[in-house]
């Protein structure tokens, strides 16, 4: 570690990992409710578990992005962070607001939570992924602004690299698009149209810039490939991302009351969206091949390659599966959507966090060459447990989706009702739950790898 202020990243990483464990735990609760409808009812109704699950996911990714930024920006800018104190304050404010919101979901009925947080003054609650009370949303804006100020000042005063500029562009975009979360018109169609400005333009737009920047940083560090090369790849990837991803928002505008030209435009633009993810695979593997150094932290490179492959599968392949309007007509809002959501979020945004954490944590813990071989062996095991677990979970949900489409959506006469269809799929949901447990076991194995002792010679 070159600059002492990089250390502020550590609590962000640790907290993100803890939240991930919580997220998966609530996933398992829902996975059980899919099989046994009475499970934990009425203590934790499904919708509450789901809010906790998805909100923890988003918040943990934000913590991870912030940690990654605080770690890599000083090193790239060749100067200390503008204000390490502000970074610490941001952490505690964000953590407190996050925990309070989750506890609110769990212990107060949602309608009551809306009332006590005075949602009627500026109603923003009750939309998927954006369920947070309005005051929490305002808190998030303040935290993100303080964060961007801190990072922005550091970048401006230091050496500017393509990595930091792309990263900062992504972070500013993240903040700007979040503002659409405050726009909740009476017209449901307008509401949905701009809701995607947050959700889609995040995961298939600006977040990919952040992903590309973090991936590039780790690749430089563990392969020693020269910067010119890295920069060129990064530009190409994010160019393809934005060219396809912005207009690609149209793949959500097929059947929600928006004009029908989106059927064509959304299909065509989003069909190109897998390309940047494919470039990421070429990128990671060719940088690894051309490497000039053999870093002792083998796992960091393993995670980096894994991110590229799994993001391509989850976002690229599983996304393409249902992105053309004539197919989406039948698959829209089925278990196939959930299958894609899981592999895409995991492959792209959880694995990139493992990549940077596995690179940076050993260094912050006084091991510049990475963890010892024994710890890395455990970590490799956890890598495969989580990857296989998520692939199995996704495969199960894909089968569930196919059954759902063929029983409930395809028949013109004699289609089964939603609930009757779900009864037919229960055995597949059991397989999903089993793979989910494997993912959690993998995460605990990963935690354990932090505590593996090496024999000292």
């Amino acid at each position: 570690m070159k600059y002492s202020s990089q250390m502020v990243a550590k609590p962000y990483f640790i907290f993100a990992l803890i939240l991930l464990a919580g997220e998966i735990l609530f996933g398992l609760i829902m996975g059980t409710q899919y099989i046994a409808g009475d499970f934990l009812f009425p203590e934790i109704p499904f919708n509450v578990a789901r809010m906790v699950h998805t909100n923890l996911l988003i918040v943990l990714i934000l913590f991870g992005f912030m940690g990654a930024t605080f770690y890599l920006v000083p090193e790239e800018s060749e100067r200390e962070l503008w204000s390490p104190l502000l970074a610490k304050i941001t952490f505690w404010v964000f953590a407190a607001a996050g925990v309070a919101t989750i506890l609110g979901y769990l212990f107060v009925p949602y309608a009551t939570l809306a009332e006590i947080t005075m949602n009627e003054l500026l109603p923003t609650m009750g939309r998927e992924f954006l369920e947070q009370p309005t005051i929490t949303k305002i808190g998030i804006v303040i935290v993100v602004l303080a964060f961007i100020l801190n990072v922005g000042m550091t970048v401006l005063k230091g050496r500017k690299t393509v990595i930091t500029v792309v990263l900062l562009t992504g972070l500013v975009g993240l903040a700007v698009f979040f503002l659409f979360a405050f726009y909740v018109p009476e017209n449901l169609v307008m509401d949905k149209f701009f809701w995607w400005y947050v959700v889609h333009l995040w995961v298939e737009g600006v977040w990919e810039l952040i992903l590309g920047a973090i991936l590039s940083f780790v690749l430089i560090k563990v392969t020693g490939v020269d910067r010119e090369h890295i920069d060129k790849w990064l530009y190409l990837i994010i160019a393809m991302t934005l060219v396809s991803g912005i207009v690609g928002t149209g793949h959500h505008y097929f059947f929600i009351g928006t004009p029908d030209y989106w059927l064509w435009i959304g299909s065509i633009a989003s069909a190109v969206e897998p390309l940047p993810f494919f470039l990421m695979i070429l990128y990671a593997f060719s940088m690894a091949k051309q490497r000039r150094i053999d870093h002792d932290n083998k796992m960091a490179l393993t995670w980096a390659k894994g991110t590229a492959v799994m993001a391509f599968l989850g976002a690229g392949v599983w996304g393409f599966l249902h992105t053309l309007a004539p197919i989406n007509f039948y698959t829209h809002g089925t278990q196939l959507t959930a299958a894609h959501g899981h592999l895409a979020f995991f492959g792209a945004y959880i694995m990139i966090l493992f990549t940077i954490i596995s690179y940076a944590m050993p260094i912050m813990r006084g091991r510049p060459h990475g963890n010892g071989p024994k710890a890395q062996a455990v970590e490799l095991k956890s890598f495969w447990m989580m990857v296989i677990g998520m692939l199995g979970l996704t495969a199960a949900l894909t089968v569930a989706g196919f059954i759902q489409v063929s029983l409930q959506r395809l028949p013109d006469v004699g289609a089964l009702s939603f609930m009757a269809t779900q009864d037919e799929i229960v055995s597949v949901y059991k397989v999903r739950l089993a793979f989910g447990i494997l993912v959690l076991a993998g995460l605990f194995t990963y935690f354990y790898s932090f505590f593996v002792k090496e024999e000292t010679a």
């Binding site: 409808g37 169609v189 060219v243 928006t258 829209h332």
Partner: protein
Amino acid sequence: MTERITKNMARNIYFGGSIFAILVFVGLTFDTVQQVPKLSNDDKITESVARGKNLWEVNNCVGCHTIMGEGAYYAPELANVFDRRGMKNEVAFKAFLQGWMAAQPLQEPGRRKMPQFNLSESQVNDIADFLIWTSRIDDNEWPPNIEG
């Protein structure tokens, strides 16, 4: 393949491509915003429909259900529940919804549970009006059949 592309070319593709994409998207957004009122019968959004939408939100209905295919996949699609359960008859649908909301949670062991929200009769009517309005949005003939 990338040997022939220089860093400068890559950067220009990035800037040029993004600006082009943003312009196209902003243009389409303007056109969509113009067309939505007609496609969605914006003039039919009564105060009751608006209250119904708010009740839909503050009770987090979308945490279990889909509406026009978006939301959670635990419980049935509701953008067409007026067609499915009310047979497109407003009086019949309101009567159905009053009974339905009052009966929750259904006491069938093992069945997925919908919570009891303790809504008043007029609140349930507001939600019904919201769902009736929603069912009439021109959404390119989705879903494929009545089961949603």
